[in-house]
């Protein structure tokens, strides 16, 4: 289980993450949402150790990640998979080689078994046909799928996704969302997704954390996100016309039901 206690991160004296505490739901899709520049990506980077926070604790199964020995950090990292905003595939390697890379580095299996596992992961994301292509030869959506396959190659306990839908069309976004949700359920992974896409939140979010200006403003499930009375969250959610209409429709329906009674 991942738990964060009083996390603080500053850049040159400016507080970007201000005293955030939360527990992430195990085996579910946890979504960190917020406006651009609210600090959600910084928060994610602190969780995975790409940034070192100035204060607080990041606990993985009760052990403080920030105080772990190098050896334990390495061990923990093998249980982490991450999908970056731009996929971050290695340019010099083919899609298959990218997926095989973590296996080549850390698996004790022989080449045939490693290749079989990589092909299984590629098949799971429906990308086996592109195995021998280079990242420059595939589309943005395919890159994201390849990055997901690479992230799950070592069968991790935790999957982190930084803006998985950025730069994708709505249909591909939905595909990526379904993939993330499917993998989370199939492999019983604890997934943490940073996003500002409300469609994604409503599609796959099991547990939602709303961050505004570095502060955790709200936490709950997607069923409550639309009906929240948090002003900042409402402003964020209903910035989209679609959600305004959903809200209006809900209110109209409520009034109708009330008058019928």
């Amino acid at each position: 289980m991942i738990e964060v206690q009083n996390l603080i991160k500053q850049f040159e004296g400016k507080v970007v993450i201000n005293n955030i505490s939360t527990k992430f739901k195990e085996g579910a899709v946890n979504m960190i949402i917020g406006k651009s520049g609210s600090g959600k990506s910084v928060f994610l980077k602190c969780l995975v150790g790409l940034l070192r926070p100035e204060g607080g604790k990041v606990l993985y199964d009760g052990k403080d990640f920030l105080k772990m020995k190098q050896k334990d950090v390495k061990k923990l990292r093998r249980n982490m998979g991450m999908l970056f905003q731009n996929a971050a595939l290695f340019d010099s390697k083919t899609v298959l080689e990218n997926v095989m890379f973590p296996l080549d580095m850390f698996s004790r299996k022989n080449y045939r078994e490693r290749k079989k596992r990589a092909e299984f992961c590629l098949e799971r994301v429906d990308l086996l046909d592109a195995a021998n292509l280079y990242p420059s030869e595939i589309s943005g959506g395919m890159m994201k799928r390849a990055a997901i396959a690479r992230a799950i190659a070592l069968n991790p306990k935790y999957l982190f996704c930084d803006e998985p839908n950025s730069g994708l069309d709505p249909k591909t976004s939905q595909l990526i969302d379904e993939l993330i949700q499917g993998i989370t359920k199939d492999f019983e992974i604890t997934t943490i997704v940073v996003s500002h896409d409300m469609n994604s939140v409503m599609n796959i979010g099991d547990h939602i954390i709303f961050i505004n200006e570095g502060v955790k403003e709200w936490e709950g499930t997607k069923d409550h996100v639309i009906n929240s009375d948090n002003k900042e969250l409402n402003e964020f959610v209903f910035a989209s016309d679609l959600f305004k209409k959903i809200k209006e429709a809900e209110e109209t329906g409520q009034e109708t039901r009330n008058s019928e009674r």
Binding site: G49, L50, K74, L76, F84, A88, D91, D104, M105, L154
Partner: protein, 249 residues
């Protein structure tokens, strides 16, 4: 650049080297990367070393032949002096200055691009020592291939001089060859190879440092690449001066 930022950069460079100079996570992967880098940084530099050495070698012999024109000196002196210049300075230092541009910018831009596209972050997340995985094969490959390039450059430089002698006839090719062989000290070749390996280490590690610490976008990668070439050129000249004083003084 202030003294403070210079000292900070030296500290960061030392810390990076500490992470680089560790045993690789997987010997098999290191060997794979090492052979790739040997081809990319070393073998692919042979053509430029060949062309430059051939022409500069001819020009060195030409200049010496025109300028050392005294009845008190035998014409074989042209060969001896050219040999000393080519072995001691041209093949080990000037070629390294050129390689600082070619290989240094290649390393800095490759690692810099990996940094800004989060490929290095991806390695770190997996638990791979990214500095060691990316930089050590480059340093090892370039340092170990450097003597090959220097020997190649020396031969091509001397051959360029031979071609000039064969065309101009002054000095004659035989006199030139006699001059090259006259009072030849093997220790100078070892000195040249050792110096070039030191420069190989400087070029690859300094370029990697600039690339690894690149932040921002494409412009910053370009700046890192340029900065690495400038820093490498200055370092090579300074170390050449100190090394020559140390070994010859």
């Amino acid at each position: 650049m202030s003294i403070r930022s210079t000292l900070e950069s030296i500290g960061e460079y030392a810390l990076l080297l500490r992470r680089v100079l560790m045993p690789p996570d997987r010997a098999r992967e290191f060997a794979k990367e090492f052979s790739k880098e040997t081809y990319k940084l070393g073998v692919n530099s042979i053509w430029i070393v060949t062309i430059i050495s051939l022409f500069i070698g001819a020009v060195i012999v030409m200049q010496i032949a025109y300028n050392i024109n005294s009845p008190l000196l035998p014409r074989s002196t042209v060969g001896s002096v050219s040999r000393e210049i080519i072995i001691l300075e041209f093949s080990s230092t000037v070629i390294c200055l050129i390689l600082a541009g070619k290989v240094g910018s290649n390393i800095a831009s490759e690692i810099g691009t990996m940094r800004i596209t989060q490929q290095i972050d991806a390695l770190d997340i997996m638990g791979v020592n990214s500095a060691n995985f990316l930089i050590l094969p480059k340093i090892a490959a370039f340092v170990l291939f450097m003597p090959v390039l220097v020997i190649f450059s020396t031969f091509m430089g001397l051959y360029g001089g031979y071609v000039f002698c064969a065309i101009s006839g002054d000095p004659s090719p035989d006199t030139y060859i006699y001059g090259i062989q006259f009072f030849f000290r093997e220790s100078l070749v070892w000195y040249s190879l050792l110096k070039s390996m030191l420069f190989g280490f400087i070029i690859s590690s300094v370029a990697a440092y600039y690339g690894y610490n690149a932040r921002g976008g494409a412009l910053d990668v370009g700046k890192a690449s340029t900065d690495s070439v400038v820093a490498n050129s200055i370092l090579i000249l300074m170390i050449d001066l100190a090394f020559t004083q140390l070994m010859m003084g």
